[in-house]
Symmetry: C2
Subunit: 465 residues, 2 copies
């Protein structure tokens, strides 16, 4: 890997001059915009880029990258800024390449259940557009993220247990490589055995191998029937056992979310609900009327067998929306518990047979800690999140949160899990990549070196140096 | 890419001597074994390796690769030899590394629905082992292939429409890289956002980036109920329309196979069936008793609306087995049509909205040709196969088959499809890789160069030089 490059002023100036000539007022060095582009939704410090560019086409992105390559000027792709591990900060300066104006929905192929979009389209915009066609795109990380950003971070969320993650739902993507070449990774066929899987290589590469500018995504018919419900458990162990049995029995649950008692209390307060403040599962079923009813009955039996309380169904769209909005607002609800504090958010993912162990370890750590930290999880996948509330100016808070975080990740790895199920590495988890992948990191580094020899694509992220 | 290396005799001798010292009688240069290892099930010519090694562990594979690397001796991984595009031949000599003795099923994690196996375990052996636990591994390419080989070629088959391909069903794999390093690509978590997706990079890499020695695969519960049935159509168009509507309606069909009238006739003769000799769909549904019944009813309605005839159900296991055995024996049934001829087998995959067009183009070509060529397809994915019967010693047969083949592939690409849905590139489709991937081929080549700089892993396959 090329040694870390410190830009000198004249290179920076030359790059900005070249970009400015290309983009006019779509290239800015305004302090406010630079600041806004160096910050995501995480606790990581703001590191602003030297400039921000607003691109409008794949060809323009290619031209931008060629200018940046000529000056070894870092390029950091930016969608909506909703990442959670400092993915979009500019530790080495450079250009934040904002793709939000690339927001065209290029083609919906209803017969093939796919859609071709530009990278800046957000998931909510896409789903609003699709609704009248009876179609939807299921990947739902909570935030209204851009689809390019979701691909770049291998996002997933609540629906992944049924529909998979971005890994399974990107048919192909168009990317600008480090030298400005434009690559379309695949055709629109549902499957292919032709060559290396460049689609999957770029999905989850966090902008370090190429800049995703367009994507073709899989779509699904809006289910004929949807039902959602909540069931409370006296303790988290019963909830997790119910999840394991649900998954093992092949019940095609569309969502199965865990909230611990701290999170439930936060949601009650924030979203004006009156859920019992004990661990709970929030579930959703998709299918025909008959199959949804059958699934719900079977899930109810499973929950009851593991100590679950009365099952409350919300088959009406408004009730469902209210429950799921509360779930989606879990982060904001958590932050509202201690106004003025920031949320240090993290996630891990383990085989579900080890999930109770993973959760218990962190709950035990928290019981001995003064930090308040709601927990929420996409437990059908073995994935859970912790939101530790910290005062960023209080070194003790930060140290304590880091300690609990490190123990949570180390424990997940010891249980054959991963240091992040869906947030990505960014800069926040670089130190765990080697612990997780061992010799695989050298393979990743060789790929990075081969595809971005000047190290201009989102440098300083993901790979340890 | 390193220039093609022609081995000199002393290097070959030195490599074989080193391997022989390591492996004893598990290294052989017997002509019969070399011949058997230079041949797959395709029409491609036999190109035997210089030697064959039978490995027994990942560590031993690493030691073998280190010896081969020291002498720049090609290494060609071999599972069961059931590939279809010349993947396992040895155009530059070298070692066929037979993994069939690495056949341990290491651990079934029933709660997590996964299994850790050595690469030489075949899918039928695995499924026989799992049956009593109520579990199965769905990927079914027809042949009783090794699971390592199936991963290496990104295999799929009849169940892919419901369960995905090897791409979606490998949780992690252990691979020996070109320098002998052992990499485990991921943990056992269902999803991860930690680093580049080395699992998916190796799945489908056809032995050119690393040698897959172990895998963790996703499992599924054996469905409570399975039903299968056949429905005939007067012409293929109605069958394809029925497929499109089935997929679009979200019906979770587990298998939906198309056989053209030539293939049906061949199956009738070979498998002693009495199906009407017109195009047909063979379908299977998995689920609860109630959901299977519901799916079957809905499919019956869809088929009828597109001109399908009476729907014949086979809910009994024996009847189902008989039908699916006939489907699985389609290749042998086809070969039996003209004894003495060989089957030039190929596959393409297109978006299903373009499937009728793709099929019609090839049927029209065949109508004007003297070749007999049954057609069969995993049409829920837009994937279909052609088995052209040719006399390998008849240059006219070969030329005619190549012409139809080229037109079929070129047509698939023009319909935004892929040159191969599931057979892979091997040596048979190298010439189409550039047409399909354009600038992507340079990216693939850069990755190959970075990970196998001496070009010893299955050289001469997949990538054009």
């Amino acid at each position: 890997m090329a040694a870390t490059k410190v830009l000198n002023a004249s290179e920076t100036e030359a790059a900005i001059a070249g970009l400015s000539a290309l983009l006019g007022d779509r290239l800015t060095t305004s302090a406010a915009l630079r600041e806004a582009h160096g910050r995501d939704e995480s606790w990581h410090p703001v590191m602003p880029p030297d400039a921000v560019a607003f691109a409008t086409s794949t060809e323009e992105v290619a031209a931008i990258v060629r200018i940046c390559a000529a000056h070894r000027f870092p390029v950091i792709p930016f969608g909506t800024g909703t990442s959670l591990e400092g993915h979009i900060s500019a530790p080495r300066g450079g250009l934040s390449l904002d793709l939000s104006r690339m927001n065209r929905i290029i083609a919906v192929n209803a017969a093939d259940l796919d859609v071709h979009v530009e990278a800046g389209v957000t998931r909510k915009v896409l789903n609003a557009y699709l609704r009248d066609m009876g179609l939807f795109f299921p990947i739902d990380p909570g935030a209204d993220a851009s689809l390019g950003g979701m691909a770049a971070t291998r996002a997933s969320g609540t629906n992944a247990v049924r529909y998979g993650t971005m890994r399974e739902n990107v048919l192909n993507l168009t990317a600008v490589m480090a030298d400005g070449r434009i690559v379309r990774t695949a055709r629109r066929a549902r499957k292919s055995a032709a060559g290396y899987d460049l689609t999957r290589l770029l999905v989850g590469s966090e902008g370090t191998l190429g800049i995703i500018t367009e994507l073709t995504l899989r779509l699904y018919g809006i289910p004929e029937a949807i039902s959602a419900g909540v069931v409370s458990f006296p303790a988290f162990e019963g909830a997790i056992e119910a999840v394991i049995e649900t998954i093992q029995s092949g019940l095609p649950v569309a969502r199965i979310e865990f909230l611990d008692e701290v999170q439930v209390a936060a949601c009650n307060r924030y979203s004006k609900l009156s859920l019992p403040e004990t661990p709970l599962l929030l579930v959703e079923f998709h299918g025909s009327e008959a199959s949804v009813a059958e699934q719900a009955t079977r899930f109810g039996e499973i929950a009851a067998a593991h100590g679950g309380g009365a099952f409350e169904w919300a088959t009406k769209a408004e009730e469902r929306t209210r429950l799921w909005e509360a779930r989606h607002n879990a982060l904001y609800a958590s932050l509202a518990l201690q106004p003025g504090k920031k949320g240090m958010t993290t996630d891990v993912c383990v085989p579900i047979s080890r999930l109770a162990e993973a959760i218990k370890g962190t709950k035990d750590d928290l019981a001995k800690s003064r930090l308040v930290a709601p927990m929420v999880g996409h437990v059908g996948d073995g994935n859970f999140h912790l939101i530790m509330l910290v005062d960023p100016d209080n070194a003790d808070d930060i140290a304590e949160a880091r300690r609990i975080h490190d123990r949570m990740v180390t424990r997940a790895l010891s249980l054959d899990g991963t240091c992040t199920g869906e947030h990505g590495i960014g800069e926040g988890k670089i130190k765990f990549l080697e612990a997780e992948h061992g010799a695989g990191v050298a393979v990743m580094r060789a790929i990075k070196q081969a595809l971005d020899p000047l190290d201009i694509l989102n440098p300083g992220k993901m790979l340890p140096y």
